[in-house]
């Protein structure tokens, strides 16, 4: 935990002035794909800076869709999505990269770059943001070691097991110490012990000010880590206090 704290605290380079206010705000948001039914209906909630939520719901309920709205891979069909108190509908295309650098995402399908090593994959957000190579070489291996991949620094994704890929994806999401971390089923491919360890990582990050949302089916984790929940059911989101 000590090492992790150091990596996260001193290591990540993009630290901004601590975010205040509401990081995510949904105002009567509706989402429909094509001409299908509304997958999300009249969603309204607010995630204040520094909060930590689990996002649960049956398979196909709309968890990934909700996260996609938050990381701007999807536009709502109605209503407004505000990030860091700015309406995302008003954003010009050229303003998106800067905003996206403040958001770390663990994708349900990992989405690692196959031709880059684990190290280069994790370094990507730093390099895109123009962080110096010295810093990259200092902090990336440290974080990968922490998630148990010290031996796989230079392995390409196709040589990694499912759970190893998932951990690389998580490292890539947190390395930039984002203001908002969105993780979609981040423990579906790892054993319970590793799942625990990864949850600690998210909590550590949260303590440093990152707002965290984790979509998961793992009831054991939700019960063990007492954080409020967002539950999606039939297109509606309800906020529920920790169990």
């Amino acid at each position: 935990m000590v090492i992790l704290g150091r990596v996260l605290e001193t290591g990540t380079v993009q630290r901004q002035a601590a975010t205040r206010g509401n990081v995510v705000q949904f105002k009567s948001v509706g989402l429909r794909y094509g001409s299908g039914p509304e997958v999300l209906q009249d969603i309204a909630f607010t995630l204040p800076a520094g909060s930590f939520h689990f996002l649960t719901g049956l398979s196909g309920a709309g968890k990934s869709s909700l996260l996609r709205l938050m990381y701007l891979a999807q536009r709502p069909t109605r209503g407004r999505v505000l990030l860091f108190e700015k309406d995302t509908a008003d954003l010009a295309r050229s303003q998106m990269p800067a905003l996206r650098r403040r958001i770390g995402v663990v994708f349900q399908e990992f989405r690692l770059l196959d031709h880059l090593s684990a190290l280069d994959n994790v370094a990507l957000p730093l390099r895109v943001a123009g962080v110096s190579e010295t810093d990259v070489q200092r902090y990336v291996p440290e974080l990968l070691t922490w998630v148990g991949l010290a031996d796989q620094l230079h392995a390409k994704p196709h040589t990694l097991s499912g759970g190893q890929k998932q951990r690389v994806a998580i490292a890539r999401a947190v390395i930039g110490r984002p203001d908002l971390l969105l993780a979609d089923e981040p423990t579906g491919n790892v054993d319970d012990q590793m799942a625990m360890r990864l949850l600690y990582l998210f909590e550590e990050l949260n303590k440093l000010g990152t707002t965290v949302v984790i979509a998961t089916h793992n009831e054991a984790l939700v019960t063990r880590f007492r954080h409020p929940r967002l539950i999606i059911d039939h297109g509606q989101v309800s906020q529920v206090a920790p169990l």
Binding site: Y71, R93, R100, L113, V128
Partner: protein
């Protein structure tokens, strides 16, 4: 670390082998077409000057005893001159005096004295108006209607050759346009498939906060490199071809085919082709990537 350059694994695509090859062919063909057009243009220009400047009508002597023959021949010559002067675009026409005619024949026939009284063919020098376009073919027909008169067929033939050269020139330009279009299409295709192959990578780069240009630059740089490499190869193939043709041309120095070697500006143009191709490839790639990306969310 090779840094940003390696974010997209473009170097491993089969595009790296294919695009240069295609650009090489295109540059080779373009070079041949450009050189061909320049040479033809020069040829046509000279021929045009010849044809436009002057024509010769020749009138064979009429049969009969010397006096009558001379009178009839004079009539023919005058009829030909009348036809010529009625033709728009003909500036002047003048029958060649016998002296000049004999001077022309002299190298053929050792001594001249005996020829003085011979019924010789007569020549009419025709000067054309430089600005007017004269249909030499039609004129030849008209002149042909005068008995014994005919337009010098070397000139008629030249004017037809010009028409044909122009057709070839248009073909070459058409081929050139087609080649440019296909080269662009190829680069667009290669870029699009490149983006298709690397769609996931591009998506992820975006999601971690890369700008469109960060991606476009990588494709554009690569297209430029590949274009230049291919262009250089194409040029390397084209130059021996030129040398061979102009060597063959030089051996014709006596014939009607003029100097087949390129003027300096022609060489400059041909030498610039690889750069043009590389630039075309780069711009096409850049525009394609930006266009494709701006359609993403």
């Amino acid at each position: 670390m090779i840094g940003r350059r390696s974010d997209l694994p473009l170097a491993k695509d089969s595009t790296g082998r294919f695009l240069p090859l295609l650009v090489a062919l295109m540059v080779f063909l373009s070079a041949v077409a450009v050189a061909g057009v320049i040479v033809l243009e020069g040829m046509i220009h000279r021929w045009d000057r010849d044809v436009a400047g002057t024509l010769t009508v020749q009138v064979t002597p009429a049969a009969g005893n010397p006096a009558e023959s001379a009178r009839l021949t004079d009539e023919r010559v005058n009829a030909a001159i009348a036809v010529l002067q009625a033709t728009p675009g003909v500036a002047s026409s003048r029958a060649l005096p016998k002296d000049e005619l004999l001077a022309l024949l002299q190298p053929w026939l050792g001594s001249m004295e005996l020829l003085r009284d011979l019924p010789l063919p007569r020549l009419v020098d025709v000067t054309l108006d430089q600005r007017a376009h004269v249909d030499v073919d039609a004129l030849a027909l008209k002149v042909g209607s005068v008995p014994g008169a005919s337009l010098d067929d070397h000139r008629v033939w030249l004017s037809r050759l010009i028409a044909m050269s122009r057709t070839i020139e248009w073909l070459a330009m058409g081929a050139l346009a087609l080649i440019s279009a296909v080269t662009s299409a190829t680069v667009i295709y290669a870029t699009r498939t490149g983006m298709e192959v690397h769609r996931e990578v591009i998506d992820v780069l975006h999601l971690v906060g890369a700008q469109d240009d960060y991606v476009a630059r990588q494709f554009a740089d690569r297209a430029f490199t590949l274009g230049l490499r291919g262009g250089a190869l194409g040029l390397a193939l084209a130059i021996p071809a030129f040398v061979a043709v102009s060597q063959a041309g030089r051996r014709l120095e006596g014939g009607f085919v003029p100097d087949l070697s390129l003027p300096v500006y022609g060489w400059a143009l041909v030498m610039a082709l690889p750069l043009v191709a590389a630039f075309l490839a780069m711009m096409t790639a850049r525009i394609t990537v930006h266009g494709t990306l701006s359609r993403l969310p």
